[in-house]
Symmetry: C2
DNA sequence: AAGGTATATTTAGTTAGCTAACTAAACAGT
DNA sequence: ACTGTTTAGTTAGCTAACTAAATATACCTT
C-alpha cells in the first residue's frame, strides 16, 4: 500500500490553535530530518552549522570576535548549551576561543581558517538545499508562511524573555 | 531601552526560502520555551505529554494497548527514543508496559489509572495554554498557517520516509 | 524442518538542550 | 577599601533525540 499509512495527521476534533500547534511541531520535525543528512555530509550538525554561519557573517560585517553570550542570544539557547557546542567545534579545529581584551570574564570566539573554509563551502550549497526542502510551497506561499511565523514569534518573544518567569502563575 | 534588542531577527539579504526556514526554527524554539513551564507544572515534559495524550485518545477510541513502534510512528521519533521516554514514564508510574498476546517481540503500552488522571487534568488546561501562546495570530491567520504547514509537511514527508536514504547523493 | 530475511525492541555512545549551583570578574554604594 | 550585587562562563546531572549494532522473535521459501 504505497499511498498512505494509518496515522492521522490532523485531528479535526481539536481546536484550531491546537491543530496549528501540532502542525508546527510536525513540520519542524520533518524539516530537521530533511536537513540533518545534508549537514552530516560536511561532518557537522545543524547546531554547529548555525554557530559557524553566525560567526562568518559577523566577521564579514564587523570586525571583532563574538562573545559566548551574544552567540547564545542569537541561537536562542542558554549559556551551558553554548559552552557545549563551542567546545565541540573547537575540538574539531573549526573555531578558536580566546580571552577578551577589556573584560577578563568574557571569552571571544572566531572561526579558524579551516572553519571559515568549511562554512563557506556549506553556505554555497545550503540555500539550494533549503529551497528543495521548502519546494512544496510556491513562492507566494513561502512569503505568507514567513509573514505569519514572524508575527507569531514576535508575539511570543516578550512572554519568554530571559528574566520574566514564564508560566509561573 | 525597552523597545528592541540588537539581534537581527530576519536577514533580508537571504533568499526567501532561507528566511522562511529560519523563521520556522525561531517560532518553534519560542513556542517550546513557552510551553515547557506549563508541562513542568504537572511534573512532566512535552515529550511525555504527547505520549500520554496519544495513549489516552487511543484508549478512548479503540480498545487495545499501543505497540512501541506505533507510538514512535505517531511521535516521529526512532525506536531508541521511544524506549527512553516510555521507560521514564513507567518509572514514574504513569504507564504500564506489557507483552503482546500474539507476538512475543512486541511490547504494549497503556496508561495506569494515575497516568490517565494526570493526562485528563493536563488536557483540561492544555487547549487554553496553546491558544494563549498562539494568541498573537487571529483565527483566520492561524487557519492559514495551519494550511501552509500541513501542505509543507505533506510535501516533505515522502522525502524522509523511513527506508529512503535522505540526502545520500 | 532449516535457513534466511524481516520486524520489534534494547544497548551503547554521541549531540544538544535544559536547570541548579558554582567560580571569577566587574561594578556600585557606602 | 569593603561589602553586596550583577554578569560571564563552567560543571554536574537530567531528558531527549540520534546512529550503529545486538538480540530475539516471526515469517517465508525451499
Amino acid at each position: 500500500m504505497p499511498t498512505s499509512n494509518t496515522i492521522p495527521q490532523v485531528d479535526l476534533n481539536q481546536p484550531l490553535a491546537v491543530r496549528t500547534f501540532r502542525s508546527l511541531i510536525r513540520a519542524m520535525g520533518l524539516m530537521h530530518r530533511a536537513m540533518a543528512p545534508f549537514f552530516a555530509g560536511y561532518g557537522i550538525t545543524a547546531s554547529q552549522w548555525v554557530v559557524c554561519r553566525i560567526l562568518l557573517s559577523h566577521e564579514e560585517e564587523t570586525a571583532g570576535a563574538l562573545r559566548l553570550t551574544d552567540l547564545g542570544d542569537r541561537l536562542l539557547i542558554r549559556p551551558p548549551s553554548v559552552t557545549g557546542v563551542v567546545r565541540r567545534l573547537q575540538s574539531e579545529g573549526y573555531i578558536k576561543i580566546g580571552a577578551s581584551d577589556d573584560d577578563a570574564r568574557v571569552k571571544r570566539v572566531r572561526l579558524t581558517p579551516k572553519g571559515r573554509a568549511l562554512t563557506r563551502r556549506v553556505r554555497q550549497a545550503h540555500a539550494a538545499q533549503v529551497q528543495s526542502v521548502l519546494g512544496g510551497l510556491k513562492e507566494i506561499e513561502q512569503a505568507e508562511l514567513l509573514r505569519l511565523l514572524v508575527r507569531l514569534a514576535d508575539a511570543i518573544e516578550p512572554k519568554v524573555s530571559k528574566h520574566l518567569e514564564v508560566g509561573h502563575a
